[in-house]
C-alpha cells in the first residue's frame, strides 16, 4: 500500500488541500488502488503548496502546486507506483529531502515539520519526541536553568531576553501557583513560524511547556493563540487531548510526581495583546491594556503570580536543547545570538517559506539563494525585517549578518524573523503612513505618545505626501517619532517610528523629498 501525504497545514488548506485529499482518495477508490492517505504538516516550502508526497524506497517524492484537476493525470502517470520516477509529470519536484531549499537549512526547532502527522503521538516519539522532557525529569531544576542560560537561547518573540534568566527568576519566586504562558499571538505581518509549529508539530510546543513547568515549579499553562488562527487552535486542542490521554500531561507527567495541565486561550483580534503584559490582561478576561513594568511578569504575572511568558518558538526550541545539550545548540550562531532562527520569507518573494538557519546569514543570501528573487520578477527594493515595527532596509544593508546586535547597531531589529520583500513599484511613504495608521488602529490607548502620536503621524505624513515637503513638516514628523520612541510604554508606540524613520531616511524620494535629509545623520 502506497503512502500519500497531503498537508493539513492552513497554507495548504488555503490553496485547496482538503478538496485535493478528497479527490485523491476518490480517484484511488475508483481505480481500486490501495493507498494510505496521511495528512502531514507543511514542510515550510510554502511556494510549492499544496505539496503532495508519495513514499517510495528512494525517499518521499514530491509533486508541487497540485490542483484537483491534476489528480487524474497523476494517477494516469502512475504516481502511486513506488517504481515510478515521477519526472514524467510536470508537477514533479523530485525527492523532497533533496530540494536544496530544504537540504541547506539547519532545522533544529522545525526538525519534524511536514515529515510527521502532526497529531500522531507515535510519529512524534518515532522522531525523537519527549527526549528533552525525559532529560528534564531527571535533571536538577537549578542546573536546568543554568543549562538554558548556557545554551544562549533568547526570546524568539522579538525582545531577545535570555530565556534561562526568566526561568530562573520564576523558579526562585515563592508562590502557591505559578504559570507557564505561551505567547502565540503572532500578529506581525510577514511571520508564520508560530503558526507552522502549532499546526505542523504541536507536540514540540507542548513538550517545551511541560519542561518549563517542571523546571520552574509551575503546574498550569496557557497557550494564548490569536483568533485569526482557527486551524492552529483546533490542532493544538486536539494535540493537548491526545497528550493528556498518553499521560504526558495531567497528574503524573510520564509517570513522575510532576503535575502539569495545559489549556488553549483564544485571543480576539488585538495586535497589542502580543505584548506580554497586555496578553496577561487579556488572559484575565480584561481589555488588553499594557501594564507598566516593573514589576516583571516573572514575579508578578498572571493573576499576580510568578509567570513564565515565552513565545512559541522559544518554548518549541527548549526540547532539543534538553535532548542534545546546551553545547550542541550554542554551537550554532554568532556573537551573542546563539542557535538558529526560523526566518520567514514573505511578501513579494518567488520562493516564500520557512528557512531555519543559524544566526549570521544575510538578507541577500536569504532573498537570492532561498527566495530566488521577487515574485513579480522586478528588482527587490526594500525589505522589512521583524514585522510591522521593524525597519525597512535598503539594498546597501542587505549584507549585514542577521544577528541581534549587528542589526541593533544600524537601528534595525531581527524581531521574530519575519522578512517582507517589496519590489521597485513600492512606495515607502505610503508604507510609512500605513505603519502609523496601523498603530492608531491597534494602540491600546494607555499612553499618550502612542494613542495620539499615531493619528498625528498619519496626518503629517499625509501632508508631506500631498506636497508640503517643507523642512517644518519633516521636522515635525521627526520630533513626533522621537516622542513616540522615548515616551511610549511598550514597543507598539515605541517602535512604530522604526519603519517610518527608515523609510524617510533611506527612501526620501518617495516622500517627494531631496535625497539628503538635514537630520538623517542624527536620526
Amino acid at each position: 500500500m502506497t503512502r500519500i501525504y497531503v498537508p493539513r497545514d492552513s497554507a495548504a488548506l488555503a490553496l485547496g488541500a482538503d478538496a485535493l485529499a478528497d479527490a485523491i482518495a476518490r480517484e484511488a477508490a475508483q481505480r481500486g488502488v490501495a493507498i494510505e492517505l496521511i495528512r502531514n504538516g507543511s514542510r515550510g516550502l510554502l511556494w510549492l503548496e499544496p505539496l503532495v508526497e508519495v513514499a517510495t524506497p528512494r525517499g518521499r517524492v514530491g509533486y508541487a502546486n497540485v490542483d484537483v484537476t491534476d489528480v487524474t493525470s497523476l494517477f494516469d502517470a502512475g504516481f502511486v507506483d513506488a517504481s515510478f520516477n515521477g519526472s514524467a509529470h510536470s508537477s514533479h519536484v523530485g525527492i523532497v529531502d533533496e530540494i536544496p531549499y530544504l537540504q541547506k537549512q539547519q532545522r533544529l526547532t522545525f526538525a519534524r515539520i511536514g515529515i510527521t502527522d502532526p497529531l500522531s503521538t507515535d510519529d512524534y516519539l518515532a522522531h525523537g519526541g519527549l527526549e528533552g522532557l525525559k532529560q528534564a525529569l531527571t535533571a536538577d531544576g537549578d542546573a536546568a536553568c543554568e543549562a538554558l542560560i548556557e545554551s544562549g537561547l533568547r526570546g524568539r518573540g522579538g525582545a531577545a531576553f535570555p530565556a534561562g534568566i526568566k526561568w530562573r527568576t520564576v523558579r526562585g519566586a515563592k508562590a502557591a501557583q505559578k504559570y507557564i504562558i505561551c505567547n502565540a499571538d503572532e500578529g506581525d505581518s510577514g511571520t508564520f513560524s508560530d503558526r507552522l509549529i502549532m499546526e505542523s508539530d504541536p507536540y514540540v510546543l507542548i513538550e517545551g511547556m511541560i519542561i518549563a513547568g517542571i523546571v520552574t515549579g509551575a503546574t498550569l499553562g496557557y497557550v494564548y493563540v490569536r483568533s485569526e488562527y482557527p486551524h492552529a487552535i483546533a490542532t493544538l486542542e486536539a494535540a493537548i487531548t491526545r497528550a493528556r490521554d498518553a499521560g504526558w500531561l495531567g497528574g503524573g507527567v510520564l509517570g513522575s510526581a510532576h503535575r502539569f495541565e495545559l489549556q488553549v486561550a483564544k485571543g480576539a483580534g488585538a495586535y497589542v495583546c502580543g505584548e506580554e503584559t497586555a496578553l496577561l490582561e487579556s488572559l484575565e478576561g480584561k481589555r488588553g491594556i499594557v501594564r507598566a513594568k516593573p514589576p516583571v511578569p516573572a514575579l508578578v504575572g498572571l493573576f499576580g503570580q510568578p509567570t513564565v511568558i515565552n513565545n512559541v518558538i522559544t518554548l518549541a526550541t527548549v526540547p532539543i536543547i534538553f535532548a542534545r545539550g546546551a553545547a550542541f545548540y550554542k554551537d550554532f550562531g554568532m556573537g551573542r545570538s546563539r542557535g538558529t532562527l526560523p526566518f520567514q520569507l514573505a511578501g513579494n518573494i518567488k520562493q516564500g517559506g520557512l528557512v531555519e538557519l543559524a544566526f549570521g546569514v544575510t538578507l541577500r543570501e536569504l532573498i537570492d539563494d532561498y527566495g530566488d528573487g521577487t515574485a513579480s520578477g522586478r528588482p527587490a527594493r526594500a525589505v522589512q525585517v521583524g514585522g510591522p515595527l521593524g525597519t525597512y532596509l535598503p539594498e546597501s544593508q542587505w549584507d549585514i549578518p542577521l544577528d541581534y546586535e549587528a542589526y541593533a547597531a544600524v537601528g534595525a531589529v531581527v524581531g521574530h524573523g519575519g522578512i517582507v520583500v517589496h519590489d521597485d513599484t513600492s512606495n515607502l511613504a505610503e508604507l510609512a503612513q500605513y505603519a502609523m495608521h496601523f498603530c492608531a488602529l491597534e494602540s491600546c490607548g494607555k499612553c499618550t505618545p502612542c494613542r495620539i502620536g499615531s493619528t498625528r503621524g498619519v496626518e503629517v505624513i499625509a501632508r508631506i505626501r500631498n506636497g508640503d515637503t517643507s523642512t517644518r513638516q519633516v521636522q515635525l514628523l521627526r520630533d513626533l517619532c522621537d516622542t513616540m520612541v522615548s515616551g511610549s510604554l511598550c514597543a507598539m508606540g515605541g517602535m512604530t517610528p522604526y519603519p517610518v524613520l527608515s523609510a524617510l531616511d533611506h527612501f526620501p524620494e518617495d516622500f517627494g523629498l531631496d535625497a539628503v535629509q538635514p537630520n538623517a545623520a542624527a536620526a
Binding site: 500578529g187 510577514g190 483568533s227 485571543g267 483580534g269 511578501g347 516564500g352 510591522p388
Partner: protein, 177 residues
C-alpha cells in the same frame, strides 16, 4: 453582475432583536464559573455569530462586573461583533506582506465588484448581503494576498479568483435563503 451592498435581505438574522435572542438564557448558558469574560464572549459569538448588546447587562450581573467593564471588553477587541455578519462576509488582509503583493489594488477591485466599501457600517434598519472587512495578517504571508470568505481561508488571490469565490458564495446564500 453587480452585488448590491445594502439591501433588505429576507434570510438574514435581525440586528439585535432581544426577544428572539433571549439574552438572559444566552448568558446563563455560557457564563460558566471559571470562564473569563473573554471566553464567555467567544462562546456567545460562536453560538450566535455575534454578541448582542442586550447581553451586556445580564453578563455584568452574572460575572460581578460593571456594565462599563463588559462593554469595554466587548468593544475593545476587533474580533467581537455586536451585530450579525452579512451572509457573505469577506475579510481581506491589508498588512505589509499582502500590500507588497497588491492587496490594495485587489481591495479596489473587490469594492468595485461588490459595490460595497471596506469597513462601512450598514445604515440603520438595512441588512448587507456582502460585507467587506479589513484584517491585519492571516498568517499566509508567503502566499499573499490572502482573505477569508465566510471564514474559509484562501491565498494567492487574484481578481478573477475572487470573482469566482464571490459568485460561489452568493449562489450558496441565495439557495439557502
Amino acid at each position: 453582475m453587480k452585488y448590491k451592498c445594502i439591501l433588505d435581505f429576507g434570510g438574514a438574522p435581525t440586528l439585535d432583536d432581544s426577544n428572539a435572542i433571549a439574552p438572559e438564557q444566552l448568558v446563563q448558558r455560557h457564563a460558566l464559573s471559571g470562564r473569563s469574560l473573554l471566553a464567555v464572549l467567544h462562546a456567545i459569538q460562536d453560538e450566535l455569530g455575534f454578541v448582542p448588546p442586550a447581553t451586556v447587562a445580564p453578563l455584568a450581573r452574572a460575572m460581578n462586573l460593571s456594565r462599563a467593564e463588559v462593554h469595554g471588553v466587548l468593544t475593545y477587541y476587533h474580533h467581537f461583533r455586536t451585530r450579525a455578519a452579512a451572509p457573505v462576509t469577506v475579510q481581506l488582509c491589508r498588512a505589509e506582506a499582502c500590500r507588497s503583493m497588491g492587496t490594495e489594488a485587489l481591495a479596489q477591485h473587490i469594492e468595485a465588484r461588490t459595490g460595497c466599501r471596506f469597513d462601512a457600517e450598514p445604515r440603520h434598519g438595512e441588512h448587507a448581503v456582502v460585507e467587506l472587512e479589513s484584517v491585519y495578517c492571516l498568517g499566509q504571508c508567503a502566499l499573499s494576498p490572502a482573505l477569508t470568505i465566510n471564514g474559509t481561508l484562501h491565498a494567492k488571490l487574484t481578481p478573477s479568483k475572487f470573482d469566482a469565490l464571490l459568485a460561489t458564495e452568493v449562489k450558496r446564500v441565495e439557495e439557502t435563503a
